[in-house]
Amino acid sequence: MKKIIMTGTLAALLTFGGLSVPALAGPVDVVVESAWSRASIGMNRPGAAYMTIRNTGDEPVTLIGLSTPLAMMPEIHETKTNAEGVSSMSAAGEIAIAPGESVALEPGGLHAMLMRLQQPMTEGETFPLTLLFVDGGEVTVEVPILGIAARGPED
């Protein structure tokens, strides 16, 4: 576990090192780590992005939405698999994160669903994704785009 108190310089360093993608842009005490996404084939198919969102403050935070120039309709979705093995996806709604807790957006569970792409997601590039919180706070993270077959942030 990395200690999450850092200056912009350190944040930039870590981002450069590819270790994590911390974001301290908003007034919200939230740190985003290990953000990643998969490249898209063209623009017709929705993309997905993953990350860990950590509440480093003393108050609960509630994530209510997303915004990005990459997609017209970015939304937090959740994949669920029922007892018969059938997977379905639906909007996850608001996500409350208690102080000191984190929420993982990872394959097969919660994910940032990027609908109506405005441009293809190209491997090796990054895009900004802004997390919107209920109190009006925002946190923007630069999400690296990995290959279509990537399995995690290190791939």
Partner: protein, 208 residues
């Protein structure tokens, strides 16, 4: 006397509750439980379907018989489960190394409207080269899904688009076409490679 009556009612009540719970257990989880909806898939030899692979070749159950098979349903407009499963499958194939060459590996679309042969060809090209992509007419997709006892459903989304709910398990068949086992989506991934080896061993048993 009155106290005893109350105690009696209490005992009868507790007995009734216990009986209700027992009956409930019997019907839901116990021997009286209905057959699960996800029945055992048919043997490939009993299936009947005609599809097209991502290189335009006509394929059917006979394409798979003779070698062990790993198959999975999905669609290329699926942002989460399908690329994840195809990446997992690619990883298992890498782990198996040369053994993987004995396997048929098939990704079957449940969304033939968007997943044309060309779309499947492009999509599978990003994953392990052993993975074949199959598509075909809606009716034929329904037949193969029925044979696998796999479910899928078209679900409208905002803005006139749609997504597909579908069985996300990976199916394993032996070389003779007999269903061996499946790898469930939420199963710990380290169980997958041993299960695939079981399907591969099925071939050896069939041959001897």
């Amino acid at each position: 006397m009155r106290r005893r009556t109350i105690a009696g009612y209490g005992a009868a009540g507790a007995g009734a509750i216990a009986l209700t719970l027992f009956v409930g257990w019997w019907r839901v989880d116990g021997p009286g439980a209905p057959e699960p909806i996800g029945q055992r898939p048919m043997a490939l030899t009993e299936m009947d379907f005609r599809l097209t692979d991502h290189e335009g070749n006509e394929v059917g159950p006979e394409t798979l018989i003779g070698r062990p098979t790993m198959a999975f349903f999905g669609f290329t407009y699926c942002p989460d489960v399908c690329p994840t499963t195809l990446s997992d499958i690619s990883g298992w194939l890498d782990d198996l190394g040369d053994e993987a060459k004995q396997l048929n590996v098939v990704f079957i679309t449940v969304d033939p409207e968007r997943d044309t042969v060309e779309a499947m060809a492009e999509y599978v090209s990003y994953f392990h080269p052993a993975i074949r992509g199959w598509t075909g007419p809606e009716g034929q997709i329904a037949r193969i899904a029925d044979g696998f006892r796999a479910a899928y459903e078209r679900v409208p989304t905002e803005g006139g688009d749609y997504t597909m709910n579908h069985t996300a398990s990976v199916f394993l068949f032996g070389a003779a076409g007999r269903f061996v086992t499946m790898i469930d989506y939420h199963e710990p991934r380290e169980f997958a490679v041993p299960k695939i080896r079981r399907a591969l061993e099925e071939e050896t048993e069939g041959a001897t």
